[in-house]
Amino acid sequence: MTLRELVESQRFCQGLEPGQCEGLAACVSERTFAPGEYLLRQHAPADTFHLVLDGQVQIKLALPGQGIVTLETVGPGEAVGWSWFLPPHRCQFDARAVTPTRTLAFAAAPLRELMEREPAIGYAVLKTLVATLSERVQSCRLQVLDVYAPPAGVP
């Protein structure tokens, strides 16, 4: 499968036209990560955006006094990282492979340039990105609700 076909096959890219996927494919490379290897490091330049093809990735955060906490895991078809889109382009969290992981790695600078130069592509990518962010925010809200805690006021 070519890189363009891989890009087109991603759920993340379902809203994009074939020609737009071709533009994205020019910014992408395939990467592999061994268990324990980091895709992104907190505070490092956010120069890459990953779509997971295979494997499992932990999104982690160092908490003073509590060590490193896993906030969520991300699997096939899901995106890792969006700090690449907004200044100052610094990663907010660590992303670490749990299992052998393969990703489509988008180079952030050429991707941003493409989105500026081709507003149709920029808007299409942004719509997809916002949909992904919306899903993540909703998931985080449910996590924060602690819905499995023992209920109060039951017999």
Partner: protein
């Protein structure tokens, strides 16, 4: 004695075994056997019994297991009655009346894919459905078991989960909302697992049980995947008292959960789970 009165008379059942089901120790299961004749009632997965702590009160508890001549119930001590029940040991006797309510549509699901989504203690009402489906595995297409819980220490039925996960003919995934240091598995809400699971939405029957907010978002995730509304079944929990549709304590909109539920298809619930007053 009238039929109605007979139905509501608790029968004595003996606790023959008691076991802790999670690492936090707050959830336990009983194996119960009737002290006399069982009465021949057919207990189906998804239904519930009213368990009576003599002199204290009754609680509705879903049937977690049906074994020859015995029943299994899984409970968490969270209120006055369940705390009293939790103090009972093997050999002691409780009152039991049931079974009540609707069951999981396991027969109707045959021939298609089966997606089972459990949240927290919601795995207990689904346990017997999973046991039965796996005992008749050839009657279903793909079987996905997706389980979300609070922390690794809250995971129920550890040994059985490992056996389900080891099966090649089952897609099993577990996630926790909050990970501890030693947890190497998934972290995040169970709805995320729905998007990743491998099943054919159009020929899928989904069985969902957990907190209502979790079920609502799970149903939305299943609908987003393309599962037909009528193929999504939820098990509701309400404060059942009479258990036979007389008292109205468990009413949810037009439904008496004890009589019309607890298992109901999504089209009969859509909208009701978003009403704060209900």
């Amino acid at each position: 004695m009238s039929v109605a009165a007979e139905v509501q008379l608790p029968a004595p059942w003996r606790i023959v075994a008691r076991q802790i089901e999670n690492a936090t120790g707050d959830v336990f299961s009983w194996t119960l056997e009737p002290c006399g004749e069982a009465g021949g009632a057919a207990f189906r997965p998804g239904q519930f019994n009213m368990l009576y702590a003599y002199g204290l009160g009754e609680v509705p508890i879903s049937i977690a297991g049906v074994e020859p001549g015995a029943l299994r119930h899984t409970l968490r001590a969270v209120g006055g009655v369940t705390r009293a029940l939790a103090r009972l040991e093997a050999g002691e006797v409780i009152g039991l009346r049931g079974p009540y309510g609707s069951a999981w549509p396991l027969e109707a699901a045959q021939g298609g894919d089966l997606v089972i989504v459990a949240g927290g203690l919601g795995l207990a009402p689904l346990r017997q459905a999973i046991v039965q489906a796996l005992a008749q595995r050839e009657r279903y297409g793909r079987v996905c078991i997706l389980y979300g819980t609070r922390t690794p220490a809250d995971v129920l039925y550890g040994g059985e989960l490992a056996a389900w996960a080891a099966r090649r003919d089952v897609e099993f995934a577990i996630t926790v909302d909050r990970a501890s240091a030693g947890w190497g598995g998934e972290v995040g809400v169970v709805t995320r697992l729905v998007a990743r699971a491998s099943f054919d939405p159009e020929r899928t029957t989904a069985l969902v049980c957990g907190p209502e907010i979790m079920m609502r978002f799970t149903a939305e995730a299943l609908l987003k995947r393309g599962v037909p509304q009528a193929s999504i079944h939820l098990s509701l929990e309400r404060n059942m008292k009479c258990a036979v549709g007389y008292c109205g304590h468990c009413q949810l909109g037009p439904h008496f959960i004890c009589r019309d539920g607890p298992v109901l298809p999504w089209p009969r619930l859509a909208g009701l789970l978003e009403v704060p007053e209900l």
